[in-house]
């Protein structure tokens, strides 16, 4: 079974890569879902954890390269939340790197697909699932 991945993508360079991949006819599995944000800095660790709570196996944060953020705040905010979510996931005993922060050059469709496939492959090799499906553990 293919791993379930949720991508939070910024509206700028991150989204342009997904767009380019589509234009070049490069595909990715249907288990990958994308949520478009104005900027990754609007993302909070709570949303990343919510994805795991709802059964995601991995979360990818797709944004602009350093210093290329349209709003000039890429570094401070997202790295803080990314590290926070990683620490919490580790404390919850989830094995492996399940959150990936990918900073892309604009319109690099091929690069995006390579990164995504690498991430999918990495997660597939992890024996333990990140979380059971929502609803299966209700009393």
């Amino acid at each position: 079974m293919t791993a379930k991945i949720l991508i939070f993508s910024c509206n700028w360079d991150g989204w342009s890569c997904i767009d380019s991949a589509a234009n070049e006819g490069l595909g990715y599995p249907a288990s990958v879902n994308i949520i478009k944000l104005t900027c990754l800095s609007s993302l909070n660790s709570g949303f990343i954890l919510k994805a795991f709570e709802n059964g995601a196996d991995g979360v990818m944060l797709l944004g602009c390269k350093n210093q290329q953020c349209q709003y000039g705040q890429f570094n401070e905010s997202i790295e803080k939340e990314y590290n926070k979510a990683k620490d919490i996931i580790k404390m919850l005993g989830v094995k492996g790197d399940r959150i990936m922060l990918a900073r892309m050059e604009p319109f690099d469709g091929r690069g995006f697909i390579e990164q995504l496939n690498g991430f999918l492959h990495e997660i597939k090799n992890l024996a333990v699932p990140a979380g059971a499906q929502k609803g299966t553990d209700k009393p």
């Binding site: 909070n44 660790s45 709570g46 949303f47 954890l49 919510k50 795991f52 709570e53 803080k80 926070k84 620490d87 919490i88 580790k90 404390m91 919850l92 005993g93 979380g131 059971a132 553990d137 209700k138 009393p139």
Partner: protein, 383 residues
């Protein structure tokens, strides 16, 4: 609607006389004119069909101020809790603070297959026994450390202080590597399913380890394990003790400082659960006087009139909550004490957060946890 009738009967809401004492003392009503405990009860009694969609039922911070003032003992906090449960069944959901990170952590912890890795903060010098049936219930402090790193609060310092105190008092205890959150915030925000998941996972873990007694330093864990677990789980039979109830703690002797004066001047923030729910006002104060060798200066409102830290189950934190927190910080600042001492990790987080967001205008009083203060000052000097 028969279920609402049951809730009304259970919490004695039908005895409400409309006298308005609850509203007069409610810290939320003071800053939010729309909110009134009395009017919520009246609406539930007269227009039950409208109550579940009422936004006001999510504003209560559960401080219990109204209940202790009520002449007819209407259990308002329980009433609100049931209304929230029913409201969720009708499709309503609260707005979580911190983008729901605490809620997600609690839900993820509630999953059966979780094997946490949460004890790496415990220092080497703390003595943990593996052959005892008493457990120290840590609570969510390791997670709070990560979540609230930005505001500069370290909740595990409180747990470390409490564990050192227990060591010093000669109480043997173990800690559980896979302890879950007690579920206090989920049940208060009406998420019964999430609470049951956490409770069942905890009971399974405690039974597996053969635990007969729990000691905890967190007032909310204490309330939930002692009162709510007994209410919601038929097989709950574990004795629960708060750290302030351990008699051996008071036998620890601390030499007075050489100058004969108290080492520090402090003011104490009563936690809603330890104070108004369990009436433990003197125990933490005695601890501060004898173990921390501190001079206690009371705030204008203290003991059963103590103002709540302002935001209870990690939701709807807004300007009203900030105003309550500012009010409390101003009262603490006016005492001229060196420290504002808290006994609940959440009081420490909320008041520190309010202090940070007030910036230069905020009160500069240093906020510190009671067990951390004790273990780092007088107790350390008496090693």
């Amino acid at each position: 609607m028969s279920e609402l009738k049951d809730i009304i009967r259970q919490t004695k809401a039908q005895f409400c006389l409309d006298c308005g004492k609850c509203t007069a003392v409610c810290p939320v009503s003071r800053y939010d004119p729309q909110f009134s405990p009395r009017l919520i009860v009246r609406k539930a009694l007269r227009h039950p069909e409208k109550i579940y969609s009422d936004r006001n039922i999510w504003s209560c911070i559960g401080c219990n101020m109204c209940t202790i003032r009520c002449n007819y003992n209407v259990d308002y906090v329980d009433f609100i809790r049931y209304l929230r449960m029913k409201s969720r069944e009708h499709g309503m959901e609260p707005v979580y603070s911190h983008s729901g990170v605490t809620e997600s952590v609690m839900h993820l912890m509630g999953k059966k297959e979780v094997q946490q890795d949460r004890l790496d903060w415990i220092p080497q010098d703390i003595n943990i026994s593996s052959s005892t049936d008493t457990a120290f219930f840590v609570g969510c402090s390791p997670y709070f450390d990560t979540i609230f790193k930005d505001i500069g609060v370290k909740s595990t310092d409180s747990s470390i202080g409490a564990m050192r105190l227990l060591n010093r008092a000669g109480i043997a205890y173990t800690v559980l590597a896979n302890e879950r959150c007690c579920g206090h915030d989920l049940i208060l925000s009406g998420d019964k399913d999430g609470f049951i998941n956490l409770g069942q996972a905890n009971i399974e873990e405690l039974n597996k380890r053969g635990i007969k007694k729990i000691i905890t330093s967190c007032p909310e864990c204490y309330y939930t394990l002692k009162v709510d677990y007994a209410k919601f789980f038929n097989d709950w039979h574990i004795e629960v003790q708060h750290l302030t109830e351990v008699p051996e703690i008071y036998k620890i002797t601390v030499k007075p400082s050489e100058s004969g004066k108290a080492r520090t001047k402090v003011t104490f923030q009563d936690s809603c659960k330890l104070g108004r729910h369990f009436k433990k006002y003197d125990e933490p104060r005695n601890m501060l006087r004898t173990l921390a060798d501190a001079e206690l200066i009371e705030m204008e409102y203290n003991r059963d009139s103590a103002v709540c830290c302002g935001a209870n189950p990690w939701m709807f934190c807004g300007s009203v909550n900030k105003q309550i927190q500012d009010e409390r910080l101003r009262q603490a600042g006016a005492t001229g004490a060196d420290f504002l001492v808290t006994s609940c990790p959440k009081c420490q987080i909320h008041l520190t957060c309010a202090q940070g967001s007030a910036g230069q205008a905020g009160e500069k009083i240093k906020i510190v946890d009671i067990y951390h203060l004790i273990s780092e000052t007088a107790l350390k000097e008496n090693d």
